[in-house]
Symmetry: C2
Subunit: 188 residues, 2 copies
């Protein structure tokens, strides 16, 4: 219908084919709803947000439980100012603590506190269960595989070449390397 509404758009415009449109609309709504649901679940039955959780996962993922701010930014694909603000708020709530880096006067570490550790330990099982209920209990093995490879394709497209350049987020030293940080701890 939009296509009828915008007949004057340059003739070169590639609108979506019907099946593409169906898939896209479904994806957009699903993704919005799923995010909302996961966030709400997390902050209702644990007392942290998905963002907190993501940060805490990165920290528990490191022996030593301390990570440099920019490394956090790179592995989460967040901008540095986002990390900075978020860590500040988490620090205020006692989930993490900042420490100066002795080897580099500019840098600082984000360190997991006991309270942070118990927060994520409490949150993780419920979150994993939610992901099961909302996603994996519904999908066949083939669909899981498809979801993974579709996501990887798109992600790779987004983080290589022009797209990555446009973003200029907190530039992974090697733009290709961002996808290789697998094998760590799950988000769920």
């Amino acid at each position: 219908m939009m296509c009828q509404l915008f007949p004057y758009a340059e003739a070169v415009t590639r609108w979506l084919e019907p099946e593409q449109q169906r898939a896209w609309r479904a994806y957009v709504r699903m993704q919005g709803e799923l995010n909302a649901h996961l966030s709400r679940q997390m902050s209702v039955d644990s007392d942290i947000s998905m963002a907190d959780f993501a940060v805490l996962v990165q920290l528990t993922d490191t022996r030593d439980e301390r990570v440099r701010v920019l490394e956090l930014a790179r592995s989460l694909h967040w901008e540095k100012s986002r990390i900075s603000h978020h860590v500040a708020r988490m620090e205020k709530r006692g989930l993490v603590r900042r420490e100066n880096c002795s080897s580099d006067g500019r840098g600082s570490f984000v360190v997991l506190t006991d309270q942070g550790r118990s927060a994520i330990e409490e949150a993780a099982p419920a979150h994993a269960e939610t992901v099961h209920k909302l996603v994996f209990d519904l999908l066949t093995e083939a669909e899981v595989e498809a979801l993974g490879s579709i996501s990887e394709k798109i992600f790779t497209r987004l983080t290589t070449g022009e797209c990555a350049a446009v973003v200029a987020r907190c530039d992974a030293d090697d733009p290709m390397e961002v996808v290789s940080q697998e094998g760590g701890c799950p988000e769920a």
Copy 2:
């Protein structure tokens, strides 16, 4: 790895299987990155946000180009206060206008302005092109089909039964009906 880190979580916890984990991590990152990229693209080369765009699409989708606030909320699956705030901001920028509803003294309409119409007309082609470049150019027909059906499964799960009840967002009169609003105009 998290599984090792939380061995004390109740034994009943269902962690994710390796393939599930891979798919889940890939999905989460892709989705975050894709959202960020679409938003940035939209606000760089048009002067509106994805949220603005979504609202404008709903408006152009209606002959008469006016929609009741709550109807907007229902079709976008947003909370009413989100709509209210967002419409207020859009009004301030001249993209829409509010009008009182004569038949129901409480209600009000959101009306598309000329400026709003030209904003979406300008934004839509570029957005569609971006979606092509970032998504559909990469996927086979089978993958498009898979993406659609996976998304629909999850979306349905999220909007029926207990999940929908938990949310109690702006209750579609018939909880089943929310998925039936197909056939309208694409988001892209």
